[in-house]
């Protein structure tokens, strides 16, 4: 039975927090510069888009799905915000309205098609190419100007280790964690992920659940795009691409598995932190960015391998 209380999913991710603590201690000990407030501030700013996207991705993975299109959605967000002309008509926050509507539409399309039976990876690969095309159409080369008000807001530092992007990402995490672990919707996500047919028979509207999960993932992509705008102050149709792979990695490192209905957001939080800190430490140890591809790929593979070893459901995996 996986229809457990949310407490179980907090408990399940506790080992990850010890790993995180270990990485933190090793990082502080091995480089002088790691444990300074500027660097922690920096890590948290770098973390924020990844954390936001990974939170949305968690819902999708819990449903035995995957959302490859989030990276493209984040990129599209930066290009829409850098449109410029839009502000004349709707004010500085006008483009935000447009992009949220677009995000919901993309998520709706993904969720609907996947519910109808299109394989998640095909659907989101298709929509990611579609969205990438739109983003490249809006901005073939990186550039453009984002409204000063918006860009400044999304990169504001609030003193010590706090910044607006980090607070936004933590708030988003809290909202989604509340949704997933403390509401009926969350319970239905777990149920649908574990067994869609049974959930249907139990009277859950699994179509609604699937569509809402993909909308959450897409909107997370939009929010991540806004946070990226705070980092680059312009539009770039390819800037978010790596978020797709990274968010899946964070979710899997966080112990959510593709078997469906197993895992949770507290694991994802730890997963995102582990990835960001490792990336920061690798940078500070002057490890060339090329090696980071290799390391990230290996982390992805080994984390899922470990979580499968640890789970007692091995016998199911005859496929």
């Amino acid at each position: 039975m996986k229809f457990n209380s949310s407490y179980i999913f907090v408990k399940r991710s506790i080992p990850l927090y010890f790993i995180l603590l270990g990485i933190f201690v090793v990082a502080s000990a091995s480089t002088d510069h790691f444990f300074t407030s500027e660097n922690i501030l920096n890590v948290l700013v770098q973390l924020s888009p990844l954390l936001v996207v990974a939170c949305g991705q968690t819902f999708v993975v819990l449903l035995q799905g995957i959302d490859i299109s989030v990276g493209a959605v984040a990129s599209l967000t930066t290009t829409v915000l850098a449109l410029g002309s839009f502000e004349h008509f709707f004010g500085a926050w006008g483009p935000m309205f447009l992009i949220v509507v677009l995000g919901v539409a993309i998520g709706f399309l993904n969720g609907l098609m996947i519910y109808k039976g299109v394989t998640p990876i095909i659907m989101t690969l298709g929509s990611s190419v579609l969205v990438k095309g739109i983003a490249l159409g809006l901005r073939p080369v990186p550039g453009g100007n984002v409204s000063f008000t918006i860009a400044e807001f999304f990169c504001k530092e609030l003193g010590w280790i706090f910044s607006v992007p980090f607070l936004i990402s933590i708030t988003w995490f809290s909202i989604l964690a509340f949704l997933l672990h403390f509401t009926r919707f969350g319970k239905y996500v777990y149920a649908t992920g574990a067994d869609r047919d049974v959930s249907n028979k139990a009277g859950i509207n699994t179509m609604k659940i699937t569509i809402l999960a993909y909308i959450l993932s897409s909107v997370s992509g939009v929010l991540a795009g806004l946070l990226l705008v705070g980092q680059i102050w312009s539009g770039d149709a390819l800037i978010g691409e790596k978020l797709s792979l990274d968010s899946v990695t964070a979710v899997l490192v966080g112990g959510t598995t593709f078997e469906g209905g197993v895992g949770g957001l507290f694991g994802t939080l730890a997963g995102a932190f582990i990835l960001s800190i490792m990336s920061n430490v690798l940078n500070m140890m002057n490890i060339f960015s090329y090696y980071q591809y290799v390391i990230k790929g290996l982390i992805l593979i080994f984390s899922i391998f470990l979580s499968l070893r640890l789970s007692s459901r091995k016998e199911k995996s005859i496929r």
């Binding site: 659907m123 159409g137 899946v248 090329y290 980071q292 790929g297 593979i301 391998f305 499968l308």
Partner: protein, 307 residues
């Protein structure tokens, strides 16, 4: 109806292409298009093996790029090194594919996580190997294979693709391995119970995909002549799209190799049509994405009707 859908789609597309640009219906132009489609067709054949067995290979793009930079730097203008280079590249592809298949079937790692991770690792290795600025160019055999024509009419690459196709077709439809592959893709548990070594069958399918990705990458190197990081990136999407356009089921066990070829040709002609209509790269992405979604949905609804 479903049987014929891939052919109807391709036929319609060619008809539209003929209307917009009658000159592109000339036989020599069609052969040129076929020659350019050769690398994609080869990679799509590998992808077909994996999808028929119920998996997916997202590492093909990185493998193609690796084959390209490896071949260019090893040959680097000296045609006499071609033979050894091809063997080394094929061995690398075989190793990558085998590792993928082994981890997926013996380590129970989900197929797309494994191949996505492997793709990232290989991409990193390619960058490390080239230090970001790839060097060298291919010579001799690979250039001939990609650019010359048999009797000045039929491109060698088309003949080569036909040979690869014939071999793969025979493997799938004329050998015990092919029957085991379809059985495994259709119902792995039933296959295990009837004594098939499912894990070995899957591992071999991924190994074939690895080898064919490298083969496609080598042929592509013949076309572009020089090394270029990231040259294979688009092939992940295109190879999967080709198999989908061919109507294969992602549940595995269903699919025809000839349909995947038709799917690959559909993609190539679609891209050609968009180029003739002067649609830019953004527009191409939009159309390709929409077509993939629409066709995937079309086949899903058709499957529903059959049941």
């Amino acid at each position: 109806m479903k049987e014929w859908t891939p052919y109807i789609l391709l036929g319609l597309l060619i008809a539209v292409l003929g209307i917009f640009s009658p000159s592109s219906m000339h036989i020599s132009h069609l052969l040129t298009v076929l020659a350019q489609a050769a690398p994609l067709i080869i990679v799509a054949i590998g992808q077909s093996f994996v999808i028929f067995v119920g998996g997916i290979d997202l590492s093909v793009g990185s493998v193609i790029s690796l084959a390209n930079v490896l071949a260019c730097s090893l040959i680097s203008g000296d045609a006499s090194r071609t033979g050894t280079t091809i063997l080394i590249c094929l061995a690398v592809g075989l190793a990558i594919g085998t590792i993928n298949g082994f981890a997926i079937s013996y380590g129970f790692i989900p197929d797309f996580v494994m191949t996505l991770g492997m793709g990232a690792v290989i991409q990193g290795v390619t960058y490390i190997f080239t230090k970001g600025s790839p060097v060298g160019n291919v010579e001799g055999f690979l250039l001939t294979l990609a650019n010359d024509r048999f009797l000045g009419i039929i491109p060698w690459s088309v003949i080569f693709v036909a040979l690869v196709f014939a071999l793969a077709f025979f493997m799938l439809n004329g050998t015990r391995y092919g029957r085991k592959l379809y059985a495994t893709g259709g119902n792995a548990t039933a296959a295990v119970l009837s004594g098939i070594n499912v894990r070995l069958v899957k591992t071999i399918a991924y190994a074939i995909s690895g080898v064919l990705s490298v083969t496609g990458g080598l042929l592509l190197s013949g076309f572009v002549r020089v090394a270029s990081v990231g040259i294979g990136a688009d092939y992940v999407l295109y190879s999967i799209a080709a198999v989908i356009l061919g109507g294969a089921s992602f549940a595995g066990g269903i699919g025809k190799l000839q349909n995947s070829i038709v799917g690959a040709l559909t993609l190539v002609f679609l891209t050609n049509l968009l180029t003739i209509l002067r649609v830019g790269q953004p527009g191409k992405f939009i159309v390709q994405g929409s077509v993939i979604i629409a066709i995937a949905y079309l086949y899903v609804t058709m499957k529903g009707e059959n049941q």
